[in-house]
Each structure stands twice: as C-alpha cells, then as structure tokens.
Amino acid sequence: MLVLEAVTKRYGAVQALTELSLAVGEGELIALLGPSGSGKSTALRVIAGLEQADAGRVLIGGRDVTDVAPAKRDVAMVFQSFALFAHLTVRENIGFGLAARRTPAAEREQRVRAAAEALDLGQLLGRRPRALSGGERQRVALARALAGRPAVLLMDEPLSNLDAPLRERARAEIRRVHRETGMTVVYVTHDQGEALSLGERVALLDGGRLRQVGAPDEVYEHPADRVVARFVGSPPMNLVAARGAGGVLRGADGIVLPLPAGVVVAEGEEVLAGFRPEGAVCPVAVGGGDERVGFEAVLDVVERAGHERLWQLLAGAQRLAVRPPREATAVPGDVVGLAVDPSAVRLFDVGTGRAR
C-alpha cells in the first residue's frame, strides 16, 4: 500500500533520513517511533510530499508519487498543533479539503456530517475552534482528515498536546476509527507506550536510520539492538556488560546471569546482556541450595504506581530495575537477591550493539 524505498533526506549538514525502506500494508496502522531528531517526522513529511526526498522513492497504492504534489497523493494529515483554522467553524474546518477540491455542496455537507458524527462532533458544527476543548479540537482535526477519505492517514504526534486522561480516550478513538474505516495509518510518536499500544507494527527510527520493524511484542521482547532495548519499555531493558564464564554470564560486582537455552558464549567472551524488569524473580534467596543462578543487590528506590511497583537496585554502580510481587516488603538499603529467568535474557554484541 505504502512503500518507502531507500529514502534519504538531508537538511544542510544534517542527515535526517538514511536509506529508509519501509512497506506498510493496506489498512495497517504502523507507529513510527523514535526520539526527537530521529527522522520520524521527516519520514512522515516525505510521505505527505511536504518534503522532497534527496534520493529514494515513495509509492502509494502501487503508484510512484515521489514527484507528485501533496494534494495528489491521496493522503491526509493530522498535525500535533491540530492546525485548525481559527476563523472557520467546525463545519468549515472539517469541510476545508472538500471545499478546496470543489466537492458539490450537498455531498460536502453529507460527508462533513458523517465525519463529525463518527467523532461525536455533531453538536459542535457551528462552533469556532476557540470555543472547543483540547480533546474536541483534536477530534476536529481527525474528522477533517477523514472527510476526504484518503488512502493513507498521516498523524504527527496527534496526542502530544492533550492531557494524559484525554490522551487515553483519544487513543481509543483512533483505534476505533481505524477499525471502522480500514484506513492505512502512519502514526508518528516519541512515546513508546503509545506506539506499543496503538501500532499493529512499530518501526523504530534513531539517527535517521530504521532500527527495527515488527509487532509491538516482538519489538519489546526481541529488540534488534541496544538502542531499541533502551528506548522501548518503561523502564527500559536492563543492560549489563558481562563475560562468558562456566556456562553463565558474569558481570562486575557479583552480577551473574544464566544463558538462554541453546546459546553458547565462549569462555571470557564479552557480551552485553539484557533482561526486562519482569524477567527477574526478586526478592529471592540466593545460594542455600536454590538451583537458580542469582546474585544480590542493594534496594535503592521503591516506586509505586497504583497496583504496580518497581524496585531500582544497585549492584555496585550498575542500576537494575525489577518488578517485585505486591507482598514484597523490603525497604531501601536492604540487600535483596534476584534471579533472572534464562528465557528472559537477551544478548547484544558489545561492538555493534546488534542482537545476537
């Protein structure tokens, strides 16, 4: 449906995108995730035609649109700022593109109504943006993009300007609209939680390069490199420098991790070992006949977030995050034991940072 072929874009000395290739399926919702300056917004603007790629091609619906004007690409866009026209009513805002394309008035009204109804804006058609709440404005921006029935909907951080509770609702709204319209959606965000919860697939960009594309679980469970491992997940994956030693991995300050089944690390070979906070059992009695490979660390910080809790441990200078069970009672300063599940351990190359 939407294909980027080796798209490269530079702004002066800044390389914004380096040979980005990506294929988005018909009706798919893909999240472009990355820190600021990663090139995700540039990618979106190249797809929209607002920026011209220096090299590479953009195809929409099998058609090469690399040199086609934005208006003729059959795309619609939702901006972070919503980009609503303050002097126009909600009706006129939603119908802007239809009016620009000279859609007959009767059909325009009908499509504006349909788009407004879909987003629960039916009562607000006569209002100006100034008289709307943030959530309503966001829905107007979305309705305007839907009214033109584009082949591809491009969303650039559409929820960043909303308060957290509103964001939750808007996310559900986008999911529902996507399901009902079956539209292909490219969703740009710097919020990994948003990308994981909304995207059918997640594409992670960093430094203008595509690091990984995959289903949210795959990106979370099997990060392609250390950048993905550290960017996806809250808190991020624990990463520990370690060496192969007698069938296990040993790091500094007594850290010891098991090897996943079937994986061999040569004696003395350096690797970067990672595990998610929920991949460790903690607290656990270390030694004392327990078969599990474990070590001890000092509990540094206890974070509580409703039903969840998170422990920050210190093993020497190494900070590690784990999720203890609810009934755990340790307090900061206590020494606790932890054992990492072998299947939760991920290995990365020390030099390249790639998963191995």
């Binding site: 929209a48 035609g49 607002l50 004007a69 934005p70 208006a71 003729k72 795309v75 619609a76 866009m77 901006f79 700022s81 980009a83 026209f85 303050a86 002097h87 126009l88 802007f96 593109g97 009016a99 620009a100 394309r101 305007r144 033109g148």
Partner: protein
Amino acid sequence: MKRRRPSETTAAALMVAPYMLGLVLLLVLPAGVTFALSLTEYDLLSSPSFTGLSNFGDLLDDPSFRAALPATLAFLALAVPLRVFGALALALALHRRTRAAAVQRGMVFLPTVVPDVAIALLWLFLINPLYGPMAALLSGAGLPVPDLLTDPTGALLLVVLMSAFAIGEGFVIALAVRRELPEELYELARVEGASTGFTFRRLTLPLMAPTLSLLAIRDIALSLQFAFVPALLVTGGGPDRATTFLPLLVYRNAFENGRYGYAAAITVVSFAMTLVIVATQVRILRRGRFALQ
C-alpha cells in the same frame, strides 16, 4: 543613606513621562492651538482676532477648497487600497527566508527612507515628456507619450502611483504578521488540495484581515502625508487644482498667503473628515465577518 526603591507605578510613570511630554508638546498643544486659531484671523504680524465661524463659512464659497475636497477623497479612494494591498502583495511575495527575497525586501523598503524631495525630483525626470525614460520607452514602442502633468486625471494618478512606493512601514507590518501565521496551516492546505487562490481567500486574507483593517485606517492619514511632497513639487497642485489636496491647500494658505486662521480651519475640516472616514471604516469592519480583534 537609605534609598527607597520606587514602586512599580512610579517607575512606570517615570518611564512614560518623556513620551507623554512629547505627546502633549507636539500633538495635543498644537492641535488645541489649531482649533483655537480656526476661529480667528491671524497673519503672524498682528495678534489673532476672533472671527467666530466665519472661516468655515468662507470655506464653503472657496473654489479651491471645493476642488480640494473631492480631489482629496478621490486620492484616498485610489491610494489607500493600492497602498494597503500593495504592501500585502509584496509581503506575501517576499516573506520567505531566502537571500533573494531579503534583498528584494530591502528594495521595497528603500523608497520609504529616501527623502521625499529626492524621490519627487527623480519622478520629475522619469516622466519628463521630452527627455525622460518613460517617454523614451513609450515612443520607442511606438506608443503615444502622455503628458501626465497637464492632464488632471493623469496628474492625480501620478501622485497616487508615487504614494504607492512609500509603503515600507505597511509592508514590514504585513510581513511580520504573515510570518506569525503558523506554517502548518499552509502545509495542511497543500495536503488538502487547496489552490493558491483558495488558500489566499480562505486562509491568508481572513487571518490577516485585522491587520489590513488597521493598516487601512492608519493609511487614511498617512497616505496624505506621502502625497504632500509629490503634489507640491511634481504636480504643483495642478493642473487645474486636480492634485491640490487638503494638506497642500493648508500649506498654501498658511505659508504662501499668510492666512493662518483660515488654514487652521481647513485643518480642522480635514481632521473631521478623517474622523468620519475612519469611523465609517470601523463600523463596516465591525459589521463584516472579521471584527477587529
């Protein structure tokens, strides 16, 4: 010694004071004096003698005033829209941050800062029907060469045209306002398939309307200032009083004929006229869809 810090109000008052002083000395006082003088006869030699409203009565029968009033209105009707939309058009054409546009912006502003007299003399040369470049161009193309200075309509249009070059300030204001408009609105318009014309009508014009309204209101007074020197030096108020606008009539009566009281009366009428036009503009704009914000 203990020094007390002045309160914010005192500080503000102190800072505004020089401006207020200037305002009173240069604007309020002269205006008051002008109103007072308009009720007198005064030639600078003897002291003013009170004559009541007779100056205003005389105005009604004065053929030069009766010619100046419609000439002034005609000038305003042509010059103000031309100047405001000229400033807008140039601002829209040159708002981008390219080097070429930067140079061109300087060129647009230049005539506003060059002394009026120099520009007036330059125009006299440009339009000279015998040896000016305009004549050379037109006759070279086989076209008749108009003598703008002997044709009443031509002279009026000439002064309008000259005033339209001194739009630097309006241009800068329009430029600043255009740059304040979020670029995303224009990007959205591009994605949604809006043509240049549609974008201008539906986006730029309404969003800039409050600014343009203010520029237009301000220009009722300002454009006459920029017409004064051309009318004095290039057309000499003629031919047949076609370019004797009210400011020039004031100047003639005061500084050439020594009728200061009479000139003051014309100034008062001028002021009243400007007031009426501006009030009408504001009313129309308020009633229109873009209220002044």
